[in-house]
Point group: C2
């Protein structure tokens, strides 16, 4: 499954075969495939993708944007799930712990993972105008950061890499 970010307009169509990032794609298929992949992974790993958890993942997948826990909670409440913050946070914790979603620290918000592969090091590109978020890969430990860590004896366990800027659509709109 490949899933590319689509900003703004939701034109269904074949996804361009460019590297991960901002580009058009068939969003319905994207969501469907990701849910199937998540179910498969959970079944294989003995994890319980319960209704709330599944629904939260679905909500995240439907937007290629980061959603705050309270935005999710509002939806859950409307749909008859619990109405208190822990309901949303617990589902999100589960998804994040199992690599099905990521937290965008910069935004205090969450996004579905579009890279079903295990053990990747995600990086994000966040558009400061339209809030679209694209997930991609990084290997920060290979560059200057890794050098500094090795030199000083720091053991990296996890990295947060988030780039803020302008997505292609917003660049065009802003500059003509």
């Amino acid at each position: 499954m490949k899933c590319y970010i689509m900003t703004r307009a939701t034109k269904a169509g074949a996804a361009a075969k460019s590297p991960l990032g901002f580009c058009l794609h068939d969003h319905d298929a994207c969501v469907r495939d990701a849910l199937v992949a998540a179910e498969t992974r959970c079944a294989a790993g003995g994890l319980r993708l319960t209704p709330v958890r599944r629904r939260v993942l679905e909500l995240l997948l439907q937007e290629h944007r980061a959603l705050g826990a309270y935005a999710i909670l509002d939806r859950l409440r409307e749909e008859g799930f619990g109405s208190q913050p822990p309901v949303a946070y617990r589902a999100l914790d589960f998804l994040v712990a199992n690599g099905l979603a990521h937290k965008i620290e910069r935004l205090n918000a969450f996004i579905a993972c579009v890279h079903p592969d295990e053990g990747h090091t995600p990086a994000f590109m966040i558009c400061r105008l339209c809030d679209a978020v694209a997930e991609t890969y990084s290997s920060p430990a290979r560059g200057a950061l890794g050098d500094a860590a090795r030199a000083s004896g720091f053991r990296i366990e996890r990295t947060v890499v988030e780039a803020e800027g302008l997505c292609p659509t917003c660049i065009t709109e802003a500059e003509g």
Copy 2:
């Protein structure tokens, strides 16, 4: 001015000449020099390093750890400055906006900048046991992230790079 992170014990002494990261150094000199550098920079740039702002910077410099806004506020209150959140947040905003401090997104906390040079791209190593934070450099735009950005037409304006893991001291204590 060079300023290295000192975790735990505060042994004064010559700083090891290793790359930026975790290592011993003369902390008093580190703080003093950083304050002088900040004053110089502010004077040169027409910025007003007022008493609250200066004091907040000093508080941050005294610890090589990230401090939450409310921890800072507590100190300010004790010292007769204003006692409400905006007092701390405004000083922190000023310091961050002018490159004298950084926000550690992962921790929702702030740390003094130890790299007086303009326009650097900071990266942080955060120890999950003792909370020490070391600042170093990164060039995320040169690696996989930069490739993805260029390929998809995303314009990076700012990056957040934070590595979480174990500092040398905590590795030793945990395993030694």
